[in-house]
Assembly symmetry: D2
Homo-oligomer: 414 residues x 4
């Protein structure tokens, strides 16, 4: 027996093909629909509003379809009340758990709406009640952190999401909306990223960087150091490789075999990087190596001396790794989540792995720009649900050089 | 004061540009050289032999240069005796530790030569003596596994490496030697990979696969299942993604939003994959899910039912992950190393991360073919020191389909 | 003073983001709009209908915006009568000439609607009147072919276009609609392309191939020969390179230095290809070389012996070229246009240059599939206005091999 | 019966793997060899010298192998005298014609050595004798330009080539020698290209640019205009696209739909570019449009007003084309050749087609740098025989911006 529900969505539905994607989703889930009402914005800036009845083969299929549609900002007209089930074992959600989006979310419990803390996609929602059974908070929780006895939302009932309003900043990045291309006027893009960072700082927010070793290989470390010193890098998410090659470069003047001063490259620096790691392990940590005067330059040095934060998370291809690296990736994810508070702008540079990892945990409300010479990185990010991601396909070294010139007036490469 | 040492190398030095790379290395390390002797192979198949004096600025620089040259198969004419130092803290090698290659290695201790167990690049060499102080064994050890009191080789003295002799199998892959290109007669390549696998099996060796989720996305899972069933997949190294999308595909008929039967794709399957992971976590493990009849098809199911081995190692971008996944990457590396015994052929498919990780721990003596639509994967592997890697830039789905047709006569896609 | 016009569009406007693109276009041309009416299709298969008033800064801007919107299938509600101006010099259109789309087009002249012959984008429309001044025909004409005195349509008045109805074949390719990706179940795609060709042949239509030298380099020539012999290649558009490497391969067993039998590759075959060209020039033409028994195998040989058509157009990087090659690109375009009659399916393989060239002259009503290992080829084709193009990012050699197996039952690679 | 010949080669044979490639060539041509003598350079800077006997299956195979080896700089120890044959029809070389390299070449005729004029690869060598039969000159001639009765060299006898000595400039580019990579310290590369241009100008030589439309799309036109004005662009080779998009951008402020001022992109500017072409055709030529005040800015305008040269050669995908474009590609090649005199440096930017076309006709002695975001462009150039090509994989817009800052002190983007 089929099941149906009436849903609605408001916004610039046609401008960005949102409604088209909503209908695609319904077909993808083998559902059907009728459009009950469609009020189109008459003028350019007016939002549209659609009311749609969606039909699925059965109640479970309908619930899953409704969750899917929420990733587009589609809510039930009459959401009802949330239902919960108790987790009956650690690390496992109850059946039919509500799977989260990265949008701002509210949940109706006992007739009242609660804001969900720290929106994040692909998690569950946990309801906390006080001693009297009164709802206290609802928060996202990744599957691996759920514990027996927690109350986890099931089904899509009682949940509403809000798509972030396109603000001035989003407007500025409008040019990047629909396409990933290397054929764009790049100098304009540099200025717009700089503006995004300045606005975040002006609003008292933090700027989060996510970087790969290409930052060092392309010779952009001095530019990044200048931006750290000027206060435009509050937090860095990276892996063992960026930090190792940065440190190797400071200790030996090389980076995986690229001699930066002379511009000569070789295949693999071999023992340079493994020896650099050993040196830091011997010191105890990157901070210890800075304090002991062993490490005297580079990006990691700048972060330490400027009192900035970094989270390094390991991967299976790591040598060493550096003592600061989280070798357990789930612990690493927790450490990353802990740094997201007050982030107002995120720049991802030259790393697919850490960009996707950060996209996974970042609320959709945080502006996000991804810079890579490889178009696939940007595409993958958007495909994985970071719909706010704006991509710039360009050379990372020249981009960061230009960005430093834009942001740090006194920065001039000698 | 400069330091110098006389080294030698034997082989088809000019055929493959080896000598040219040796001289590049010397310059890279700011060293100098004179070629004392060069006996060139007169006929096509004769090996050449060169004796070279290398000069460095100081003794430490010389030792590091000698280690670097060993990655090319260059040994000291008079290697002398190995020297060792005691590790004085866990996870840290002594200063000037010998950094390993992935070549077959022998070490001279107390006048006798010992074969190094399990060659692996970027590790240290640990000497074990018995109660009487007599040398018992020398083995590679990754930095994170060294413990206080272990005897670790320092400097390049007393170490000899051997470059694997190019055998018939290597000859067969000669065409791929110098270049990574998508413009190659692909059908011939399929047959040669099949031959490599058959030879390994005929010699009683194991075939190791390293795979990414593209195996599932390109619709190649049925082909891979056929090869598992036919005995051509003894071990699989992968991450959370391949296993999750394979299982998602079995449970829901989708893979990250690609409906395989209809060939329709969507951006992101969203809750399909996270729900698939929860299902397996609830079952306890992949094997438990197979035993319970929850998981009834796909690659992981085939591996379990055929009694084959797999090592899944997590990464920072993972959702869940599946209960079988090593979330600690260093423990994951240990589990991978434990499966390398008797591997006689390695095929890497559609994953840069796990291919590089496996290349890191694989001896140079094991034939290695890497298949990816992205030329960068293959290039990176070779650049990182897996000089035996042969690359095929092609479509993974069609390649595995053809490989199954070649290896499994009864395999025909319905 | 602003100028405005009321336009309309009918179809699955939201399903494929068409309306969103229409509104983007208006903004791009600095115009404004109000949506006067929007009747949304209630059920999944119902078309929608929109009536929009568009406003531009002046009359000329409005006319240009209206032409732009016609590329989306947007027509004026009250198109009025077409206006014409006489060309006053050869090779130059009158000011404000109507710039064509590749859609089916009708023009109202003297109160009657005439179908435009051979739709093609970026051309002008020429009106032919008989001795009495009665309109006889309207046809597209490229700029370089216009002659003094011809009557050329100006402005957008009196012109209506029709977007091709999505038919069964289009439905079959629906999966490829929105995305270019190498992560697709490729075996399914092969079958669907084969079905597209079979349907075209069954309907008495011709199959047009557009190919680059990668067809030869990937070893796919035998597969393509089999498909020529089986009647699935009626016309081939290519450049000097495909034909030269095919002929070089037949004469010398090589293709730009790739020895196909052994799978060995070198950088550049050097004198092989230039000598192959000289041999054909000496014979007079490819056909002469076949007749004289000089050329006895390969793709070009198969086309000649099967009596199929080919148009080879030169480029600035050509050596030679072969005597059959059009060295004048405008003449080459004319020769290509002459072969388009009755084409019912077009497959483009491994060439960006000739794919874009063919896309330029192909009506939007002809199904078009583009196969390339490089995603940029497919993207560029769609960006240039061939909105019907469906892309498959895969290995050309394996794809053609599979396609031959699918289409030609007796084809089995020995 | 086999045929053999003794050849020699001098230079840094092992440093750059030259000897390895020579031996590969011999095997590729199914030949055999013995190394008779090998004097290795003892010190780092000493050249090596090898004497090799090469054996082929027959005399014709030997001659072809000897021609192949000359592309590596390998000459016969005893070259003998050149032999010639008369062309017996227009556009066709005699059998066994000598196929040229792009190296400096001398030919021995009647006992005396003549320098070959304008070295170019894949051509024939034509001998001119005066009325008395005395040799006057030897020059390269492309196949299509040969005329009946011309004397054309046959076989490899009597021909010697010289590999250009690696000079200071080559040294500066040494870092780029063996690899094409986006992971290089880009800022250093910018400076080195600037130095190469300055050196060429200081030596009274011309700087040749080869460009694609990406120059305009990436917003680099102002940077290029500044370099034209400052005298760093003497000649431009391009196609219809670069000139059209540059002119479109000047006339309408767009480039194939990219609004440069706002950074917004659309798919296809549609009628902008076709209307821009019509405007120039109406004016008569680009120069006429500048003189008439129709075209007032951009790259083409700068070239015209600064009195610089340009050669635009058409391709099969062209709309229009502009009246200045050579529609016959062979005539276009001739026009390009005519501009090569005194070129001392060549920069190729964002075009595979025109880069390969220019590489085809450029002597190996002219330094050549190729900049593209696509690694395949650079690789293809080297594979086609332009061994002097140095590649930089980077963003063209940012690269040219930086290059202008480096070369033109007063240039600052407002």
């Amino acid at each position: 027996m089929t099941a149906s529900e009436t849903v609605e969505i408001t916004g610039h539905l046609m401008d960005h093909g949102i409604l088209s994607r909503v209908l695609d989703d319904i077909r993808e889930y083998a559902g059907d629909y009728t459009i009950d009402r469609f009020d189109v914005g008459r003028e350019t800036d007016d939002p549209s509003h659609a009311v749609i009845t969606v039909i699925a083969d059965d109640a479970e299929g309908l619930q899953r379809l409704l969750m899917r549609l929420q990733t587009r900002g589609v809510n039930q007209v009459d959401p009802g009340e949330a239902t919960v089930a108790e987790a009956d074992r650690d690390g496992v959600f109850p059946d039919h758990f509500y799977s989260t989006t990265n949008l701002e979310t509210r949940v109706r419990i006992d007739g009242a709406w609660l804001d969900v803390e720290n929106p994040e996609m692909d998690c569950g929602l946990v309801l906390e009640r006080d001693a009297d059974g009164k709802p206290v908070r609802v928060y996202t929780l990744p599957m691996s952190d759920v514990r027996t006895g927690m109350l986890v939302l099931t089904g899509a009932a009682g949940v509403r999401v809000s798509v972030p309003a396109p603000d001035a900043s989003a407007e500025a990045f409008g040019f990047m909306e629909s396409e990933v291309s290397s054929e764009k006027p790049q100098a304009v893009l540099v200025r717009q990223v700089a503006d995004g960072m300045r606005e975040a700082k002006a609003a008292g927010k933090k700027v989060l960087w996510v970087g790969g070793p290409g930052v060092v290989h392309t010779g952009a470390a001095p530019a990044m150091v200048a931006m750290v010193d000027a206060g435009y890098v509050d937090v860095l998410f990276a892996g063992n490789a960026l930090a190792t090659h940065d440190i190797e470069s400071s200790l030996y003047g090389t980076s995986l075999g690229v001699d930066l001063a002379m511009g000569r490259g070789v295949e693999h620096g071999h023992e340079h990087h493994i020896r650099a790691i050993n040196t830091i392990r011997k010191a105890g940590s990157i901070r210890d190596a800075v304090d002991a005067g062993v490490l005297t330059g580079g990006i990691m040095h700048a972060l330490v001396t400027e009192g900035k934060r970094y989270v390094l998370v390991g991967s299976v291809r790591d040598d060493g790794p550096l003592p600061d690296v989280y070798t357990d990736v789930i612990e690493g994810q927790r450490a990353m989540r802990a740094e997201l508070t007050d982030v107002g702008f995120c720049l991802m540079v030259a790393t697919m792995l850490h960009s996707v990892a950060t996209g996974n945990i970042l609320p959709a409300s945080i502006p996000l720009v991804c810079v890579d010479i490889n178009p696939a990185t940007v595409t993958k990010l958007a495909d994985r649900g970071s719909s706010q991601a704006r991509g710039i396909v360009t050379d990372v070294g020249l981009f960061l050089e230009q960005l430093a010139v834009e942001l740090v007036p006194e920065y001039r490469r000698s």
